[in-house]
Symmetry: C2
Subunit: 413 residues, 2 copies
């Protein structure tokens, strides 16, 4: 409490009030002033002031009474307001080593277009920014949205991101220090926010589940590499050096292996990531009789581990034993997250998470052996759109801030 | 932002303002209205309103101009206010398996008395509440503070504490479900707050270091048992089931040992806690020639591991090798905290932390091998008073809340 400084004027209050009103109108699409008073607990003059602010900014529209064609009746008409979802648009972009994805939504978060671009091999940083610009334009074209209508763009990328700059991104050569933010800002003349991909994924998961600001939500990306995004008390937990959540680098052995380096895979991802899972499966099917052998031989992507989970779900004992080993390795690294943070929920995403219930059950069973309270674990429902949707959420947050600061309101006072 | 509800009226603002003014007066002991305006960024009428609120509540005193004996001069006199540290008192209590401690302070947090009671063996829950009542009275007597002057009491205890009740405290038989809170409330007629001991320790460390609400501070208790208190963004991180920070139960081995139970020591504390350290040292000195052998034989408390660090600091190679092993075991469990949270600082407290620089250096060296960014680690400067001082901090927070709600202000609106 002693740290409260000048950041507490009436501006903050008006900002909070307008934000609360906006949230209710957006959720309900349309509402009367009475609805808004009831949902926010604010007085009529305060709600009216917030409505005026939001109307001036173009976010809501005041509807005339339809029954009498807009003519004044005796007494106070039940004024209705409508959220203008079409007043602006948002773009979320996922930049990965092997794919890029762009999602375009309106201000209500309704997805209007989702475009995906996969490449063989690994992106090179230099071409990537050009690729993202083209992808974003293509997504806007598909959505029928003019570039001038883009209010903000949120971009997720692997690596360490601080203050909107990619400081380190070992999985994409040449990507650190890229000019993507500047390029996008120049092209679309709007704010561009860049953050770590798992940070965006946890924002998207919380949004998808309509989570509030309380409690702790973790998103664990389980693909070729491993990393966690943490949302604690409604805020992204980025850490002192923006490197929180690096569970792929957990070295749990008594004697640590070589010195850790972000240029190489971390100890946990090198035993529990998609490559390690594929290698384990290939070595097992050479020794044991299983329908998995043919399925593995037939796939085109060597990192595609889905046949393992497919066979396990059908009851193949060899595939089940592989799933059990994989789950045990992953659980060994996941348990410290549970013991340290006692989170409300951990959501597993990334390519391996498509393993479904047979994998989730095995992970849950192995984590439970290492924790004091039963772990709360789910697979992501957002699939590989999580990062791009998180970009949309980040862009939406910024757009609301911009709205309120343009209206002379600000969370900073 | 959509979760903002009725909790944002002018009450909140007045509460924040009065709290900011109080913080400045307390830190400066005395201040003029101009000082307060400058330090808080608030306007003169707002500061005057806050001063009036605080004076009515008895927390500050308005000093008449001393130079002219209180007579009015022409023009506006430079009105000074003084923080009335003596207006109330706080008690912090540390309830441990082997000792209890009570600290009495004034409202400025100045320690007036510190009383400690050690027992042989382990406390029994039944007698413990009686012991704490007697200890508190004895501390108040030593401080010359009347029981009626106690504004609030904060108590730290091992185990799981939720909503002021000890749900589980395996290290003190019969302590779970105790009536200490009710007994203290009855005796002293004031609010009694009970929380987990490491949670209080991290509050005390943050207070001691004048830490603000930003960043992440962890306090790791390293004694017979291990546990961590986490302060994230200015808030205690308790976890979903109030069981965050249980690093003593980390089982890092590939194959987990027996099923975890709070009735037994956890895997990490059973290899890195004080008992394990003592056992290791005893087994080593039987095999190798070292001055440590006699020192260990001479001590009265079998859990006193200080001779190891004493000999290591003097350069004894046998003691140094023990320190290295101990630090390596501890670092293996501490590294996940760094990789997951990337904290601003980790403070090590508890009996083993008295090992000093020779131990800190070894721990730092071993953690560094397991983390991506250099770990920021310090030993506690509060010694075994950390938990009781955290109790004082908790009591002080509650007292301020009570003050403001009595004045018609509230953080909840």
């Amino acid at each position: 409490m002693e740290d409260t400084s000048s950041g507490s004027g009436p501006h903050v209050l008006r900002w909070l009030n307008a934000s609360a009103v906006l949230g209710v109108v957006r959720a309900a699409d349309q509402a009367t002033l009475s609805d808004l008073m009831e949902a926010t607990g604010l007085t009529r003059p305060t709600v009216a002031q917030a409505v005026a602010t939001l109307e001036r900014a173009g976010w809501i529209e005041i509807l005339r009474n339809e029954a009498d064609g807009g003519a004044r009746r005796i007494g106070r008409p039940a004024q209705r307001v409508r959220f203008r979802a079409e007043a602006g648009h948002l773009v979320g972009v996922d930049v990965g080593p092997h794919k890029t994805m762009a999602i375009v939504t309106d201000l209500a978060g309704t997805v209007l277009a989702q475009v995906r671009h996969e490449i063989d091999g690994v992106h090179q940083g230099g071409e990537l920014a050009t690729d993202v610009l083209a992808l974003t334009e293509s997504a806007l074209g598909e959505a029928g949205v003019a570039p001038e209508s883009v209010a903000a763009i949120g971009v997720g990328t692997p690596g360490v991101v601080a203050d909107g700059e990619v400081l380190m991104a070992p999985s994409i050569p040449g990507w650190a220090g890229n000019r993507l933010g500047a390029d996008l800002t120049t092209r679309f003349d709007c704010p561009v926010l860049i953050d770590n991909d798992v940070n965006l994924a946890v924002l998207a998961e919380n949004w998808h589940r309509r989570g509030g600001p309380e409690g702790t939500l973790a998103f664990v990306h389980w693909g070729a590499r491993l990393g966690a995004g943490l949302l604690i008390g409604g805020r992204l937990h980025r850490g002192h050096a923006a490197s929180a959540g690096e569970i792929g680098f957990l070295d749990l052995d008594e004697e640590p292996r070589e010195r850790l380096s972000t240029d190489r895979m971390g100890p946990l991802e090198s035993i529990a990531g998609a490559e390690a899972i594929a290698a384990l499966a290939e070595s097992v099917v050479r020794r044991r009789r299983t329908p998995l052998r043919e399925l593995l031989a037939a796939r085109t992507d060597p990192l595609d581990v889905s046949p393992i989970f497919h066979c396990a779900a059908e009851g193949d004992p060899v595939a089940l034993s592989i799933v059990d080993t994989v789950a045990a390795r992953f659980a060994r690294g996941l348990a410290p997250l549970f013991l340290l943070l006692d989170p409300d929920l951990v959501i597993i995403g990334g390519g391996v998470s498509r393993g479904g219930p047979v994998l989730l059950d095995a992970v849950e069973r192995h984590v439970r052996r290492r924790t004091l309270v039963p772990p709360r674990l789910e697979m992501s429902e957002l699939g590989d759109a999580a990062v791009a949707l998180g970009g949309v959420r980040l862009a939406l947050d910024r757009t609301e801030e911009t709205l309120f600061s343009a209206a002379g309101l600000s969370a900073e006072g």
